[in-house]
């Protein structure tokens, strides 16, 4: 086993979830390290996306415990998980299609004064200043990801790759401590995929923790450390990519799966 890590930001302990007799997640245990990109890999149907959904609060576990920064977050609803600082992106792009790119980013900002009914009715004198500050922040994010020219485009009109990028930008606006990325490169052209990869590495260097579900093992090898391997609802291996890649149970799982 890998040496005991002292700086785990998220721990998942013996989590179970079944769907009508199918054990989608069957006793998964792993931890994610602060300021690392933890890779979550495994054959199709291993339970990776279900486990992501459980951590994000969208799916309730039937047993097990999830702690984030030392606090129990098991079974909290999605918006409370988000308030704790865990922000997910989706396997299928989940843009707000009739909002502009900039609006998509603005929505994500937490604690907006104008988002309560009374706050909204008090009008711009009440929330306008905070809004202007948010617009500045969002424009900074757009600039960083070279999406400034798309600011006023409807999100639904973006290309598949740009939508993935939008989701990452939007997640950053929510001030996350940890990102859960479910196949962030799915359907993205190779050039843009490389750019997104570089952005993720940069964010990690700035101290952001991430868990990434990914099928493309070469990407996992480049950016993820450690790597968690799942098969049939269980975590079967945990460690560096070179380490787990040579283990027999991992090879078996991939061949069987």
């Amino acid at each position: 086993m890998m040496p005991a890590q002292t700086d785990a930001i998220l721990t998942v302990k013996d989590v179970h979830r079944d769907f009508g007799g199918v054990k989608a997640v069957d006793g998964a245990t792993f931890s994610a390290q602060r300021a690392h990109i933890t890779g979550l890999i495994g054959p199709n149907g291993a339970g990776k996306s279900t486990l992501m959904g459980i951590v994000a609060g969208a799916i309730k576990p039937v047993a097990g415990k999830i702690t984030f920064e030392g606090q129990d977050v098991t079974g909290l609803p999605p918006h409370r998980i988000a308030h704790r600082g865990i922000i997910r992106t989706f396997q299928l792009s989940a843009e707000f299609s009739k909002l502009t790119v900039l609006e998509n980013l603005l929505v994500a900002a937490p604690g907006q004064k104008g988002e309560s009914l009374w706050g909204a009715e008090l009008g711009k004198p009440y929330w306008g200043k905070a809004e202007a500050a948010l617009v500045r922040t969002a424009r900074g994010v757009l600039n960083r990801f070279a999406m400034t020219p798309k600011e006023n485009d409807l999100a639904g009109n973006l290309s598949g790759g740009q939508k993935r990028l939008l989701e990452i930008m939007r997640a950053l606006m929510a001030k996350p401590k940890m990102l859960l990325l479910d196949e962030p490169f799915a359907g993205v052209n190779p050039t843009l995929a490389r750019e997104i990869e570089q952005y993720l590495v940069d964010l990690r260097k700035e101290g952001l923790s991430m868990i990434m579900v990914e099928h493309e093992l070469s990407v996992v090898e480049r950016v993820c450390d450690p790597v968690v391997v799942m098969a049939q609802g269980k975590v079967i291996s945990e460690g560096s990519m070179q380490d787990v890649g040579s283990r027999q149970e991992v090879l078996d799982a991939y061949l069987v799966g």
Binding site: A58, A94, S97, L99, T100, E103, A120, A132
Partner: protein, 327 residues
């Protein structure tokens, strides 16, 4: 202009403003927040009944109509009560149907609710006088103002215009704010909105109650004008007239849905009244429903965003200046 023409025009103006109030409320729920409320007319009806029984005075033995909670509250309390009762009913319905169910099932629940409500109002005769409905509902301040009935009509039209303005400003306060943006985001993808920290259940309930209260107010102002209300006045297809107004005008655009109200419930349905009777009596009226359905289909096919489409928020280029509000 002849008196009868003035009566007709002022009645149309009153209908227009009252329908605009109703459509603005449904647009908040459907256009902005994506809640498919096929029972909207029920909340209009409940508001109307509330205002009616609170204006009719206490029921007494030998009365030609029977109802509960009779009282003679002064204007404008019955209208406020109507908003409160419809809002409270929205909360109950929302808590039951909006929390767990998927949106297509929510729509079914609403449609069924609409049918059940009609059955209850028709068959529980002691509640609001059954199928005959309530009549002789006093018009607000009629005796106090002491005007001839035509002048009163115009005053009432002015009152409706004023109320419409208040509701419009209130609704615009929501749609032009970060709250409106969050609601539209929830409509486009509620899972993603939740994953970003929005409490979508609370948001959905809140806007459902706000829309329901607005429906109740529109019903109250309507019933105080026409002075009668029965289950036949609010059959479930009435909701589809409102929906048609929204889809034709432009969902999630306040100006669009107001144009849609002018065109569909007022323009389209009024204009067809002047067609000569053909085939048999009532044929034209029956065809109105067909046409409303066709109108909805045509717009969904050929112009799904309506005549005045939703306008996303635009923000000024200079970060120092305050942003331009969304519409």
């Amino acid at each position: 202009m002849s008196d009868s023409m003035q009566f007709y025009i002022s009645t149309l103006v009153i209908y227009l403003f009252i329908d605009i109030i109703g459509v603005l409320g449904l647009n908040l729920q459907f256009g902005v927040a994506g809640i498919i409320n096929f029972a909207y007319i029920v909340f209009v009806a409940v508001g109307a009944y509330t205002a009616a029984v609170l204006s009719l005075g206490p029921d007494y033995p030998g009365n030609f109509q029977h109802y509960v909670f009779g009282a003679s509250w002064p204007f404008p309390l019955p209208i406020l009560a109507a908003g409160a009762v419809s809002g409270a009913l929205s909360l109950v319905v929302g808590v039951i149907s909006l929390r767990r169910l998927r949106s297509d099932y929510q729509a079914m629940v609403m449609l069924v609710l609409s049918l059940i409500a009609t059955l209850i109002a028709t068959n529980a005769t002691g509640l609001v006088n059954g199928p005959a409905g309530l009549a002789t509902i006093p018009q607000p301040l009629y005796d106090w103002l002491n005007l001839d009935s035509l002048t009163y009509q115009w005053v009432y039209a002015g009152w409706c215009a004023f109320l419409t303005l208040i509701i419009f400003v209130f609704v615009r306060g929501i749609t032009n704010s970060p709250l409106g943006r969050a609601l539209r985001a929830m409509r486009d993808n509620d899972r993603a909105a939740a994953a970003l920290g929005k409490n979508v259940t609370a948001m959905r309930l809140m806007i459902f109650v706000v829309g329901g209260a607005i429906a109740g107010i529109s019903g109250a102002v309507f019933v105080e004008f026409i002075q009668a209300w029965s289950p036949g006045s609010w059959l479930y297809p009435e909701t589809f007239v409102f929906l048609a107004a929204i889809l034709v005008g432009g969902a999630a655009n306040n100006w669009g849905v107001m144009l849609g109200t002018l065109l569909v419930p007022v323009g389209f349905l009024e204009a067809t009244r002047f067609l000569p009777q053909i085939f048999y009596n009532g044929f034209i009226e029956a065809m109105q429903w067909v046409c409303v359905g066709l109108l909805i289909l045509a717009f969904l096919w050929f112009r799904p965003s309506g005549l005045i489409p939703e306008r996303p928020g635009r923000f000024r280029a200079h970060p120092e200046t305050p942003p331009v509000p969304a519409e």
